[in-house]
């Protein structure tokens, strides 16, 4: 074979390949779409991400079993709950043309990924990003028109956390510790505002960078605080609580939804974590719907965790749009932003969105308490 023929044969083959590939993608694009989950699937926060992703997978599995016309797949985007990785992971998701909607787990990485989603017009329904600035039109991290969330934000959680932490404490003297992450700083602001004069002092210990909390604990002792609120995430929160109790602190320890993780009591120790008070805008799946809870346990042979319910609901919102025939990014975004949109969630409550992306009406906030090494729901906060 001479060189010329070889080249043209290769060219033909290349064309055929390219055309073939093109033909298959355009054929399948009509019938298969992806819903992306951007959250921590590895890393210290992996448990929260895994619990949520299972909610997503369950919703999609139930949908695919009944709706053969448009198949839905899940795109797993692992940002480790890390602000710095959110941007890259978000860009990766936005560049996959099959993705029609995305669930983002944590506030910081959501803010980092927002530009990518906004540029490509991909709708976000977050099951757990609670930072207030995401739905605040005056903020630089304002997420509209793409951002929506089905949980109450930290402007509601802050006062609730302050209330739960000081509940039943005579003359509360409160010490607030944050971890300098964007979620933590926002929540701290709301907590401090709600505490008023009960707020005594605070400290900031950067996430994942502090082994020894002795100095913070010395300050807590000096202020004679009887309530300590930690606004970061569970890995550091557990380390801090353990050292706090080991140094003889007897008062209340409280934390927000970042601390609400089934690993928290284990890392902090059974004795040290006893009685820890937590708040979160989440409903445990067994409380929301025993039927879905049973399906979840059957599917994953594991208990649902924090935000499993909300991830299940957020996914169902996209599935409802797809069922209504909206299979492009633009159609789904318009569907969510239309004033006629409503969705009945797992607990049977009807959800509508405000133009800012927040829920309409007063949101929900629950409180939890650690008993004998497990986190138990303790009613509304």
């Amino acid at each position: 074979m001479n060189k010329k023929i070889k080249t043209s044969a290769a060219l033909v083959a290349a064309f055929a390949l390219a055309f073939g590939a093109f033909a298959t993608t355009s054929a399948s694009a009509a019938t298969t779409v992806k819903i992306a989950y951007q959250g921590p699937l590895t890393g210290p926060e992996a448990q929260t991400g895994t619990d949520s992703l299972r909610g997503v997978k369950l919703a999609i599995k139930l949908y695919n079993a009944k709706n053969p016309a448009v198949k839905v797949e899940v795109f797993e985007g692992d940002d480790q709950g890390d602000d710095a990785q959110g941007g890259t992971v978000g860009a990766g998701i936005a560049n996959d043309d099959a993705v029609v909607g995305v669930l983002t787990a944590y506030s910081g990485p959501t803010i980092a990924a927002l530009p990518s989603y906004k540029a490509k017009g991909i709708a976000i329904v977050s099951p757990s990003a609670t930072r207030a600035s995401l739905t605040d039109p005056t903020s630089t991290s304002y997420g509209a028109p793409v951002f929506h969330r089905i949980v109450s934000n930290d402007d509601l959680q802050g006062p609730a956390l302050a209330r739960v932490a000081t509940n039943g404490v005579k003359d509360p003297t409160v010490f607030v510790v944050d971890d300098q992450s964007s979620y933590s700083v926002g929540l701290t602001k709301a907590v401090k505002a709600a505490l008023g004069t009960a707020f005594q002092a605070g400290d900031s210990a950067a996430k994942g960078a502090v082994s020894d909390f002795s100095a913070t604990i010395a300050k807590i002792k000096k202020e004679k605080a009887n309530v300590v609120i930690y606004t970061g995430y569970y890995a550091d929160g557990a380390k801090f609580l353990k050292q706090l109790r080991d140094k003889g602190y007897k008062g209340v320890y409280a934390g927000g939804d970042g601390v609400l993780n089934s690993e928290f009591p284990k890392l902090a120790g059974k004795k040290q974590s006893e009685g820890a008070r937590l708040t979160a805008p989440t409903v445990p799946l067994d409380v929301a719907s025993p039927k879905v809870y049973a399906a979840f346990k059957k599917e994953f042979k594991a208990e649902p965790g924090v935000y499993s319910t909300e991830a299940f609901d957020a996914t169902n919102i996209f599935l409802q749009a797809i069922k209504a025939g909206k299979t492009t990014r633009a159609d789904i975004l318009a569907y969510l932003n239309s004033s006629s949109f409503s969705y009945k969630n797992t607990a049977g409550i009807t959800i509508k969105f405000q133009p800012s992306g927040d829920l309409s009406g007063s949101g929900l906030m629950n409180q939890f308490v650690v008993k004998a090494g497990t986190i138990k729901l303790n009613g509304k906060a």
């Binding site: 950067a206 082994s211 000096k222 890995a235 557990a238 890392l267």
Partner: protein, 317 residues
């Protein structure tokens, strides 16, 4: 700024600062020993520490089958379990350290005279180890069972002197004295000092260069392994990124005291522990690192070789 916390909690902060400082001292030994003979920073030492901390926990959970919810143990059982954990950590760290020398230093030393090459290869090893452990553990933190209960022995001026922290201090002092004697009195120690002063001359005098360097890495690794064990005993948690956090602090301590000399590592470690504790208390924990580094830069401006750098030039490792 809030100086009242310093006056109010002075004894407590000081004791905690010294205890933290001793952990820095033990890790700093790894940096300082290697620097003494090679005139190079072994950036992989932080990962030696990280692997040691995992080894400590794994000995207690995999060999002795304790779980994170196990109750503290006492008596003879406690002593031999802790000793096994310490040995496990020291053996793993020592071996890893020697391996790092063979992989990242030895061949490069014989093939090229450019020292920067092995600096980069050490950073490479460090990244490989960190990322390897990140993948193996899915970046999740690993908690340690509390085997040694946090018993408060005495309370002096409001500071609780706890058994675990006291153990760190006592052991670190014993280790430092042994090491100091070893380097200054023993035959091999003499060899280490000779290599540290002049490579070529010591080779001409019949010193086996590779043996001396390997021994130095081994000693550095053993010290770092002990540090990892004590870190776990006190803080009971580790993760893949722990080496960076602690390694940077220990390295700073070594430079502050005068890198390449054991007494310098001691002074630097304690000084850094105290500075961090006081700065966290007075300015807030977010200012801890900034304060530590500003002080480091100020010290280096006036004493470029660190606190003990010049006066003890000849007493280098």
């Amino acid at each position: 700024m809030d100086f009242s916390v310093l006056t109010d909690q002075f004894a407590s902060l000081t004791f905690d600062g010294i205890a933290l400082g001793f952990i820095y001292v033990l890790i700093a030994l790894g940096y300082t020993m290697v620097y003494g003979v090679l005139r190079l920073i072994n950036f992989a030492n932080s990962e030696v520490f990280m692997l040691g901390s995992f080894a400590t926990i794994l000995v207690s959970t995999k060999i002795f089958n304790y779980t994170i919810e196990s109750d503290p143990i006492t008596g003879f059982k406690l002593v031999y379990t802790l000793l096994a954990m310490l040995l496990g950590s020291m053996i793993v760290s020592g071996l890893v350290s020697v391996l790092i020398e063979i992989v990242a230093y030895r061949r490069l030393r014989s093939r090229t005279s450019n020292r920067l090459t092995s600096l980069i290869s050490a950073i490479g090893v460090s990244i490989v180890l960190t990322e390897g452990v990140r993948i193996a553990t899915s970046s999740a933190p690993m908690g340690s069972p509390r085997l040694l209960d946090k018993i408060t022995l005495v309370t002096i001026w409001g500071a609780d002197i706890r058994l675990d922290t006291l153990l760190v201090i006592v052991f670190a002092i014993i280790l430092l004295i042994t090491l100091d004697l070893f380097v200054n009195k023993s035959r091999l120690g003499k060899g280490i000092r000779a290599v540290s002063m002049d490579y070529d001359t010591s080779r001409l005098m019949g010193i086996n260069l590779n043996k001396v360097i390997s021994t130095t890495f081994l000693i550095g690794g053993l010290g770092t392994g002990a540090a990892a064990f004590f870190y776990i005993t006190v803080y009971e948690m580790t993760r893949f990124s722990i080496g960076f956090e602690l390694g940077l602090a220990a390295f700073t301590a070594a430079v502050l005291g005068g890198i390449g000399n054991i007494r310098g590592a001691f002074a630097g470690g304690i000084a850094l522990g105290l500075i961090e504790m006081y700065a966290s208390a007075v300015l807030g924990t977010q200012w801890r690192s900034i304060t530590a580094f500003v002080i480091l830069i100020l010290v280096l401006l006036f004493k470029p070789n660190g606190i003990f750098g010049e006066s003890l030039q000849q007493a280098r490792v």
